[in-house]
């Protein structure tokens, strides 16, 4: 589409800078009589006066800025602001002496020419001009805008029409657009991408794995419960059993003290010996048995008669810690020549 095809013949925008300048100067020499004339003597001073140079450059920059900032304004065909800018530039140009200022002048020229080109293209319409604003309004109606009845709202929006656009507003435009476009319809697979094999086997293995897991979980809690219960009962039962042994041995011969070591040591098993010591300590703690030293300063154990418990209770309680190691255990077995255990182990002992 040819851009510069402006049908209009307006002077200002279509002239380039140089021609404009020549014309401008001619006009000025007619119109302005003594405004910018200066004598020969002033020339040399002005050449080197930095203040004046700066002023000129600053004015150029102002002009350039004004063109850029007020672009929309200058574009309107209703005013001649661009021509005014060019005339300003002409005036300034008379005082240009150095390269820097000339460069700014050139820059202004480029900016102004650009604007001029755009102004020219605006004049391009023979026939009806196209107004995007009107187009937008018509399109909004086409899209189904429900304009509000209230006239005040329209003004508040700065001219934009208020109202509600329906959901499918843009779809309506798109549908209308389809009639004008020869686009290839998009290709999509009908069934989506499709693999027959992998999914079923995956499901099967998952299910199989899940089943054993559940059973295993179910077994665990019951086992634990049984163990816990048996644990406590076992201790109590064992302690009672040992008390039973103690009492029976004591009744066999009440006068002869029972050696503690002979009582607890099981020559066949160190671990059972430790358990016996452990259970016997409960008897001592609960006051069901007592220990004393015999003439050989060796510990002996004897059950406590029922009547004796209160008397011995709080007064003569002593604590001691019994320790034993396999080495000591063996030495004790040898020393006391323990052949057999006094506390028979339980047959259904579970570890």
């Amino acid at each position: 589409m040819k851009r510069a095809k402006g049908g209009g013949d307006e002077d200002g925008p279509r002239q380039n800078g140089a021609a404009g300048r020549r014309k401008g100067e001619q006009q000025k020499s007619d119109a302005d009589d003594g405004d910018c004339d200066f004598g020969a003597g002033d020339l040399q001073e002005d050449d080197n006066d930095p203040g004046l140079r700066r002023e000129i450059r600053s004015k150029y920059r102002d002009l350039i800025n004004s063109v850029q900032q007020n672009r929309e304004d200058m574009l309107r065909p209703s005013n001649n602001k661009l021509t005014e800018v060019l005339e300003e530039a002409n005036k300034l140009f008379k005082d240009v002496r150095q390269a820097r200022e000339a460069a700014l002048d050139a820059q202004l020229l480029v900016v102004a020419t650009d604007l001029g080109k755009e102004k020219a293209s605006q004049l391009f319409a023979e026939g009806t001009a196209f107004d995007p604003t009107a187009f937008a309004e018509h399109l909004l109606s086409f899209m189904g805008l429900n304009r509000l009845e209230d006239g005040e709202d329209e003004q508040q929006n700065g001219g934009a029409v208020d109202g509600y656009l329906p959901q499918d507003a843009w779809h309506r435009v798109a549908r209308r657009a389809q009639c004008c476009v020869r686009a290839a319809p998009s290709f999509h697979y009908m069934m989506g991408s499709f693999h027959a094999e992998p999914p079923p086997p995956k499901q099967r293995t998952e299910r199989q794995r899940k089943a054993p897991g559940k059973e295993a979980k179910r077994i665990m809690p019951t086992q634990l419960k049984r163990m816990e219960g048996s644990h406590q009962e076992a201790t109590e039962k064992e302690v009672e059993r040992i008390l039973g042994y103690l009492k029976s041995y004591y009744q066999d011969d009440p006068t002869s003290p029972i050696s503690y070591y002979e009582f607890v040591i099981d020559p066949n098993s160190f671990s059972r010996t430790v358990e016996n010591i452990f259970h016997t300590s409960f008897l001592i703690r609960d006051g069901l048995a007592r220990m004393h030293m015999d003439n050989a300063k060796l510990p002996c154990i004897a059950p406590v008669e029922e009547g004796e418990v209160e008397a011995g209770g709080s007064l003569s309680r002593k604590q001691c810690i019994v320790s034993i190691s396999p080495k000591i255990w063996k030495e004790l077995i040898e020393a006391f020549d323990i052949k057999d255990t006094m506390i028979q182990p339980l047959n259904t002992h579970n570890e």
Binding site: M1, K2, R3, K5, Q68, V110, V111, D114, E118, S121, F124, A125, E126, G127, T128, F130, P132, T133, A134, F135, A136, E137, H138, L139, L140, F142, M143, A160, L165, W170, H171, R172, V173, A174, R175, R176, A177, Q178, C179, C180, V181, R182, A183, A184, P185, S186, F187, H188
Partner: protein, 267 residues
């Protein structure tokens, strides 16, 4: 018309459009410098392959195009050769000829080279869009509406428009490039990136502008796909004017570049 840029493969013509030594074309592994094989090379290549092989490769090219067309991104020759044609590159022109025929006869589509320099292809519909409501209720893409508005403004304004005019017009339609839009999301990206990549629009920087400004023009895809006459008709409807009152646009729509859309579907 769509064939004009591509190598003519009439049997017996002994010149390729591009000078290429046979050894170079055969040994070349650098995909970016694909040179069009000559007709004699193509013939020799064809002799080494079975018809089934050639058909298979053609079908692969057709599929590649169809999938690429989903996003409306043009297909580059270099990509096509690298990813699909591969070792069949010596018979590339023949494959393309067959693919074009397949598109034409099976799908009713035209394969067009929109950029002769960079060798980029698109698919467009061979048929004119049907008059009246469409037969199938396929979902419309609202982005096409947005694109249509921009193309219309650019066309009615003589073919080039500064971006500010587009943004201000869109704002009047409640589409603000600075804000996220319900339907379109990041409007600026859709307009200046997506539509440009699809070759519906061109978004070109204007020199000497500070701050930087761009102008919009019709893209190469729009040139072949979109009917200016029909846009003018729509304008006439909207403004309740005779389309011919916009004389310059009317002339443009019926000029040489517009004649491709004016041609009716051939049977």
């Amino acid at each position: 018309m769509s064939q004009r840029k591509r190598l003519s493969n009439t049997p017996g013509s002994s010149q390729g459009k591009r000078p290429s030594s046979s050894s170079v074309a055969q040994e070349e592994h650098d995909d970016t410098a694909f040179t069009q094989p000559s007709t004699s090379q193509v013939q020799r290549g064809m002799e080494k392959l079975t018809p089934a092989q050639v058909d298979q490769k053609t079908a692969e090219v057709v599929q590649y195009f169809l999938v690429k067309d989903q996003k409306k991104i043009p297909v580059r020759r270099a990509e096509l050769v690298k990813h699909v044609v591969k070792e069949y590159r010596t018979i590339y022109p023949e494959i393309m000829k067959r693919a074009a025929r397949t598109f034409d006869q099976v799908f009713g589509l035209k394969m067009i080279e929109i950029d002769a320099k960079n060798h980029m292809y698109i698919l467009i519909n061979k048929l004119e869009p049907a008059e009246g409501p469409p037969a199938t209720r396929s979902p419309t893409n609202p982005k096409m509406g947005l694109l249509f508005v921009i193309l219309s403004v650019v066309f009615m304004k003589g073919g080039v428009v500064r971006e500010n005019l587009i943004w201000s017009t869109l704002k009047k339609l409640r589409v603000d490039p600075g804000e996220k839009h319900e339907e379109f999301g990041d409007v600026k990206r859709v307009v200046t990136d997506e539509f440009v990549r699809q070759r519906y629009l061109e978004y070109v920087r204007i020199p000497h502008t500070e701050p930087v400004e761009h102008e919009f023009r019709w893209g190469q895809r729009a040139d072949v796909e979109v009917s200016k006459t029909k846009i003018l008709e729509f304008m006439g409807q909207l403004h309740e004017q005779d389309p011919q009152t916009w004389t310059q646009q009317h002339r443009e729509a019926h000029s040489a570049s517009g004649s491709s859309q004016a041609s009716s579907s051939q049977r």
